[in-house]
């Protein structure tokens, strides 16, 4: 189970800096996601690990060995592409057997490897089919089987599930993770889909504009983002403006624009400072409007409602001015109608406080 280490890896194309001084360690047996918007450098980074692209500077180590300039074939990797690249002139068996054959294994060993790979990816009854006889999900599996059959211990997935329908994609995400974990492989998975990253990874590496912004477990990134961009990129979040009105040993109080007060456990930001509170949609709850005012109970009005299957999604305009999203998990039909005045109860224990950015909120809310 190899460990992968990137040491100040950079990649320049003329004036464009695709990857900017990236340092990264992926541990033995870890399943890691490289997550970020298009153009953030995640695919370039993966290709540098694979040896399909050479870095402008920096070093790549796989299993302690310096492989920066070694050809991909010598790095013992399995690479799965977004568009599969299944050789159209060979059937499934020959495609999957190509890797073992190149490694010079004998007939019996090749057969064993291919069968194992086909069994793992549930393709045993398609071994004799040609690629043009298979549908997209099946081709996807062949790509994975082909990588597995090489016997490589490091798997690299480049938006490998990108071509699949959402339902099939969701099933595959979990299957892929199971396969990697069961075979005790190390895997690095590039995606722009934060739900996918959460579903498959032990740790997520968030990239933007060539740089790594934050690395952590899904819960860490979701509840403790270190940047407004990450809070906004990893699932939807509400951003409410306020000013720190009081700081105590146990936390701070934030005064919103309409005078309502939110109380949070965070106490890092000084009094009088302008802040942004980031709070997830599902941490808000709607209650019928009552005229009292209390901490973390904010008045507003329902301006939108959508049924999303397993949850209700409301849009509420706060008296403080912001429009917030509320998601409630419930089977019962919604008790609130459009235009109803409501009180929004906010669970601030998992809210995040940011200093109001000096260059304005917009650049941090950009999804690119």
């Amino acid at each position: 189970m190899p460990e992968v280490k990137l040491s100040t890896i950079s990649k320049h194309y003329d004036e464009v800096i695709a990857v900017d001084s990236v340092n990264l360690t992926v541990h033995n047996g870890e399943y890691v996601a490289l997550l970020g918007p298009s153009g953030c450098g995640k695919t370039t980074t993966l290709r540098i690990i694979a040896g399909l692209t050479l870095p402008t500077e920096g070093d790549v180590f796989i299993d302690g060995k310096h492989v920066t300039y070694a050809p991909p074939g010598n790095r013992d990797i399995g690479f799965v592409f977004q568009h599969f690249e299944i050789f159209p002139f060979w059937d499934v068996w020959d495609n999957v057997g190509y890797g073992p054959k190149l490694r010079g294994l004998d007939e019996i060993e090749i057969e064993k490897r291919v069968w194992e790979a086909l069994k793992t990816t549930k393709l045993t009854d398609k071994a004799d089919n040609l690629p043009d006889e298979l549908n997209t999900p099946e081709l996807q599996r062949v790509g994975v089987a082909r990588a597995l059959a090489t016997g490589a211990r490091l798997m690299l997935f480049d938006e490998a599930l990108g071509a699949l329908d959402p339902k099939v994609k969701a099933i595959f995400q979990h299957e892929l993770r199971k396969i990697v974990k069961k075979n005790k492989l190390t895997a690095i998975h590039v995606t722009h889909d934060q739900q996918e990253a959460m579903a498959i990874a032990d740790r997520i590496i968030v990239m933007r504009k060539g740089r790594i912004l934050q690395i952590g477990k899904p819960t860490e990134l979701y509840y403790k983002p270190n940047d407004i961009f990450i809070a906004n990129f990893l699932g939807e979040s509400n951003f409410i403006e306020g000013v720190v009105s009081k700081v105590t040993e146990t936390g701070s109080e934030i005064r919103l624009r309409d005078g309502s007060i939110l109380r949070t456990d965070e106490k890092a930001i000084k009094g009088g400072r302008r802040v942004i509170i980031s709070i997830r949609h599902e941490l808000l709850k709607l209650q019928p409007f009552e005229r009292f005012s209390a901490l973390n109970f904010i008045p507003g009005k329902v301006i939108g409602y959508r049924f999303l299957g397993d949850r209700h999604s409301y849009e509420v305009k706060l008296d403080a001015g912001e429009i917030v999203g509320v998601k409630e998990f419930a089977r019962a039909p919604p008790p609130f109608k459009l235009e109803d005045p409501v009180t929004v109860r906010m669970d601030t224990s998992l809210a995040v406080l940011f200093s109001y950015p000096s260059n304005g909120l917009a650049p941090h809310l950009s999804l690119e």
């Binding site: 694979a50 040896g51 399909l52 050809p71 991909p72 074939g73 010598n74 990797i77 399995g78 690479f79 592409f81 568009h83 690249e85 050789f87 159209p88 002139f89 190509y98 890797g99 190149l102 490694r103 043009d132 082909r146 990588a147 090489t150 690299l156």
Partner: protein, 542 residues
């Protein structure tokens, strides 16, 4: 690196060098050139005058032919590329036909159709041909054999434009005609120019058919041939050099100007354009297009078959058996059938060798151009590949003759060297297109699975390009079979079939010429059909 060095050396020494050798030949013998062309003691500068006129004629004809071809070829390209109808495959194959027919045979057939009394003039009850030898006949011949080039390249361009753009325009309210004018044509611009250039240079350089139908109307390639026969080497060299220079300059200029050409989109005429888009107008336009194709291109091209059938057992007018094809070829005392056989063998040998050599040295070159990233050098190399295409084949022939003089003398081997030169781009261009068409992902996968560069090439790249390469090889073979102009310049005592046809026509042995043409046409046709079959199945692996 060794293999690449050899490939590049081959290109420079065998292809490029001989092609541009005229330049140095002219400069080295400049005094002689001046003496024979400008200051001949007897003729003064008459050769210069003749040269000028011939050049002007060649360019005029090429220009007219190109314009005609764009006008009649564009609707045909649109018809085949965008519409589905019964018999489309057949029409598509028929359009390619003139390309498969060696130009000498084509020229002869068209001459029979328009210019002899057995052709179309029969319908009018005339005693002689409808169109006599001269510029008009040259234009008809050139139009016929450049037509497929234009239609093919326009068809490829149209197919390359995503149909969704045209759909989008329609949903926004544009009629069919408006969509073409404002969306499709601008997107086709580059391809249209490329097709036009191809047509122009083909017309400029064609020799074989022109020899047959020109009569006394000398164009530049014809002049090269006749001066060569008269051994006026310096004058021929000078003419070749001018031809090459002008052709290359034009190529560069047109490519440059292509950027500037725009199509007016600011102006709209909704009502008239809507009228032109109507379904009956479209049907009318398509019928006219097909009719023109049949009458001006196809029927004249294949007329030889009718002629041979008519004249097989004797002259249809006098009934004399000895005038018939059968007697002339097989029974006449000069053993034409034997000469035909010998020249056929020569043609096939040369074509085969040229194809094999191109495969060996052209294939690596194509891969170098596509896969190696040498920056600016790639661009220059790529542009140089096209030079033999732009230069008229008789000029190439002459330049090569000078280049190899003393080392290889006129005859079989010099013919081969020359054929290699002008078929080289015909092989490399389609092969480059096929290689570029391969998804680089396949090669990357192979590398991640452990394949070395060579193994990747052998097991993956070659499998994916194989059919395209085969198609390129067949094109080379066909081109070599049909070439006339350059061959005449360097043939010495050897004969290939096209050249033999020219000989027969000049000695007025028309029935025999017709027979030889048919043999050549049939072989080329068979190759064309195989080519189409391979191209079709190559499409499946996109």
């Amino acid at each position: 690196m060794g293999a690449e060095g050899v490939t590049l050396a081959f290109f420079l020494v065998v292809i490029l060098g001989p092609t541009i050798f005229v330049f140095s030949a002219v400069f080295l013998s400049w005094n002689e050139v001046v003496a024979t062309v400008f200051n001949d003691p007897i003729a003064g500068d008459i050769r210069w005058q003749i040269m000028r006129i011939a050049l002007i004629r060649s360019f005029e004809i090429a220009g007219i032919v190109t314009v005609i071809n764009v006008i009649i070829g564009l609707p045909m390209a649109i018809l085949i590329a965008r519409y589905d109808f019964k018999g489309k495959e057949i029409l598509d194959t028929l359009v390619d036909l003139p390309m498969a027919v060696p130009t000498a045979a084509l020229g002869f057939s068209i001459f029979l159709f328009w210019g002899s009394r057995s052709g179309i003039s029969v319908l009018f009850g005339l005693e002689s041909g409808l169109v006599s030898r001269g510029p008009l006949l040259i234009i008809l011949v050139h139009t016929a054999f450049t037509y497929p080039y234009i239609v093919r390249s326009l068809k490829a361009v149209i197919l390359g434009i995503d149909k969704t753009y045209e759909d989008a325009a329609k949903t926004l309210g544009a009629s069919g005609f408006t969509t073409w004018r404002t969306i499709s044509m601008p997107l086709m611009k580059e391809g249209l120019i490329a097709g036009a250039i191809l047509s122009f240079t083909r017309s400029l350089g064609e020799t074989g058919a022109t020899l047959i139908v020109a009569g006394v109307y000398d164009t530049a390639p014809i002049l090269i041939v006749s001066w060569r026969k008269m051994l006026l080497i310096p004058a021929t060299a000078f003419l070749s050099m001018i031809l090459v220079t002008i052709a290359v300059v034009m190529l560069v200029l047109v490519r440059f100007m292509a950027r500037k050409v725009g199509f007016p989109i600011e102006k709209v005429w909704p009502r008239p354009e809507q009228f032109l888009s109507g379904i009956w107008q479209r049907r009318f336009r398509n019928s006219v297009t097909i009719a023109i194709f049949l009458v001006i291109i196809l029927l004249p091209s294949l007329f030889t078959f009718q002629y041979v059938a008519l004249w097989w057992n004797g002259s249809p007018a006098t009934g004399r058996f000895e005038s018939g094809v059968f007697y002339q070829v097989f029974r006449a005392p000069d053993l034409k059938w034997a000469w035909l056989l010998i020249s056929l063998v020569t043609s096939l040998q040369i074509a085969t060798l040229a194809t094999l050599i191109n495969l060996g040295f052209g294939l690596p070159m194509a891969f170098i151009l596509v896969r190696r990233k040498w920056g600016k050098i790639n661009g220059i190399l790529d542009a140089m590949i096209d030079i033999p295409l732009a230069v008229p084949s008789s000029a190439i022939g002459f330049s090569a003759f000078l280049f190899w003089r003393g080392i290889i003398n006129p005859g079989f081997w010099l013919i081969l060297m020359v054929h290699i030169i002008f078929t080289y781009p015909y092989f490399i261009r389609p092969v480059i297109a096929v290689i570029e068409g391969i998804d680089p992902g396949y090669e990357e996968v192979a590398r991640t699975l452990g394949a070395s560069d060579l193994t990747t090439f052998r097991t993956v790249s070659l499998r994916l390009t194989g059919r395209g390469i085969l198609a390129g090889a067949i094109m080379v073979f066909t081109r070599s079979l049909g070439e006339t102009g350059a061959t005449i310049v360097v043939m010495g005592l050897s004969r290939t079939v096209p050249v033999y046809i020219v000989d027969l026509v000049e000695s007025l042995a028309l029935p025999a010429a017709a027979f030889a043409s048919i043999i050549l046409i049939c072989i080329s046709l068979a190759l064309l059909l195989i080519l189409r079959y391979i191209s079709r199945s190559a499409e499946e692996w996109k």
